[in-house]
Symmetry: C2
Subunit: 254 residues, 2 copies
């Protein structure tokens, strides 16, 4: 189970969850995507209308609805399902904030589904609040999408501190699987410098290859697709497939 | 007083606050920037180390520290000051969540400074939580930075609903000043389509000109600068100066 987390906004968390999920399903894995963002961008990119869904992961958190009754199959590929989000999930943040054991709510929700899926990918919102904490507590490993710019670099230390807290208090097996270099601009030295320095400074593995910036990404969500579906031969799709193959070594065995 | 808000991550809220603030100070206005994001990206981009600051806007919210004692001058230009953020501000979110009248906390904090500044620009975090609500409640007008891609388009309706709620319950004078088209990719039809449809569908003024994507932006924050300082002759700097001039018509008179 992988949490995809980075509190900085717009660093391609959702894009990474969608593309990796699709690529792993293409490889024959049974994949569950979990949308933990009240803005429901993943849910929308998968072709659902979050404003028209009557049930979401919020109901699992607050009404104890079974995850199996909320899960939806994603059309266009076998073996890809989603636990969708809606704006109601903003209510979960308030509801969970003051309850003991709140950080384990997602883990409890997902436990009954453990045998139905080979891989679970959790899309976290741009914050280190209770929803992201739930993602980190439920997961075995963390993937950090990193946009190679100064403002993203700045947040990594804070994120690693938070992961350390979760390890100490809620999930002692949690480890960082690695960094995905997203929206990578190879034309500038700035991007390559930031990438090199993050790997070194924090001792994190940088998964290969970097995903380069491309105009093809912008069009995909509006079509209810990820880059791998929308532009299967593009460098972006190939990059995410290669990263999925790397992770699959882990997924198949765990 | 202008709140710069959009719950979508990474759509250049911070970049827009910094660049407009600097450009207005260049025009001789006395400008206060307020950082409402616990990630303190604006504070960092202005050349401060958020981890080394002993006081932030959090202390104003929670310890009733005077804003005048927390305010810092920004070096490099006259007439630019900041009410900085630190990670402590994450504590404010929890602290304010359950208190009556919590949405007016920022307005009360800023009231004593009203005569010291011509313009106040408020940088909101990527959420519609209590910190953004404070920004919207304190402000006279809202500026919406919009990255012209499908996932940003999706959030505009939700943001406008939130603004409407604030208008009804906390700040009946609040209005949307307009949209700033950020990170605009003129090469693709997608960007232009999204921009045109947002203006029409929500009846919002799109401030001219759009700010085009450029690699010059990434380097600025690490140097403690905005684009207007870092690359004063670049198209990005000129675009933000033009938008500042448009707003200045408002600021000078209000
Ligand atoms: N390699 C890329 N090249 C160009 N654009 C990209 C790339 N990857 C993602 N994008 C675009 O960047 C925008 C932000 O991506 P995304 O929404 O996945 O980020 P996020 O981290 O999930 O944002 P948030 O913090 O709001 O959850 C989207 O419009 C997406 O289509
Ligand atoms: N016109 C532009 N061209 C290229 N890059 C840009 C442009 N404007 C902003 N950026 C870069 O995009 C990234 C995101 O911008 P910024 O941090 O201002 O967004 P934000 O909306 O404040 O993010 P958050 O939601 O995390 O607060 C930054 O690294 C910034 O330097
Ligand atoms: Mg996202
Ligand atoms: Mg910001």
């Amino acid at each position: 189970m992988l949490a995809v987390a980075n509190q900085k906004g717009g660093v391609a968390k959702t894009t990474t969850v969608h593309a990796l999920g699709f690529a792993l399903a293409e490889r024959g894995r049974r994949v569950l995507l979990v949308d933990l963002d009240p803005q429901a961008c993943l849910t929308f990119s998968l072709g659902f209308d979050p404003d028209a869904l009557d049930r979401s992961v919020h109901d699992c958190f607050v009404r104890k609805t079974k995850a199996a009754d909320v899960c939806r199959q994603v059309s266009g590929v076998d073996g890809l399902a989603v636990l969708p989000a809606t704006i109601d999930l903003a209510g979960s943040e308030v509801h969970l904030l003051t309850r003991t054991g709140r950080e384990h709510t997602l883990a409890r929700t997902l436990a009954p589904l453990a045998d139905d899926f080979d891989v679970v990918l959790i899309d976290c919102p741009p914050s280190l609040g209770v929803l992201t904490i739930n993602g980190l507590t439920a997961a075995a490993e963390v993937i950090v999408p990193l946009q190679c710019e100064a403002l993203s670099h700045r947040g990594v230390g804070q994120l690693l501190d938070t992961i350390e807290d979760v390890r100490l208090f809620a999930n002692d097996g949690l480890r960082v699987r690695g960094v995905v270099a997203t929206m990578f601009d190879e034309r500038t030295r700035h991007g390559r410098d930031v990438l090199a320095s993050v790997g070194e400074r924090y001792g994190l593995e940088v998964l290969d290859p970097p995903v380069r910036k491309s105009v093809r990404f912008a069009e995909a969500p509006a079509r209810g697709m990820c880059i791998v579906q929308h532009a299967p031969r593009s460098p972006g799709a190939e990059a995410y497939r290669a990263i999925a193959a790397t992770l699959d070594g882990v997924a198949a065995g765990s």
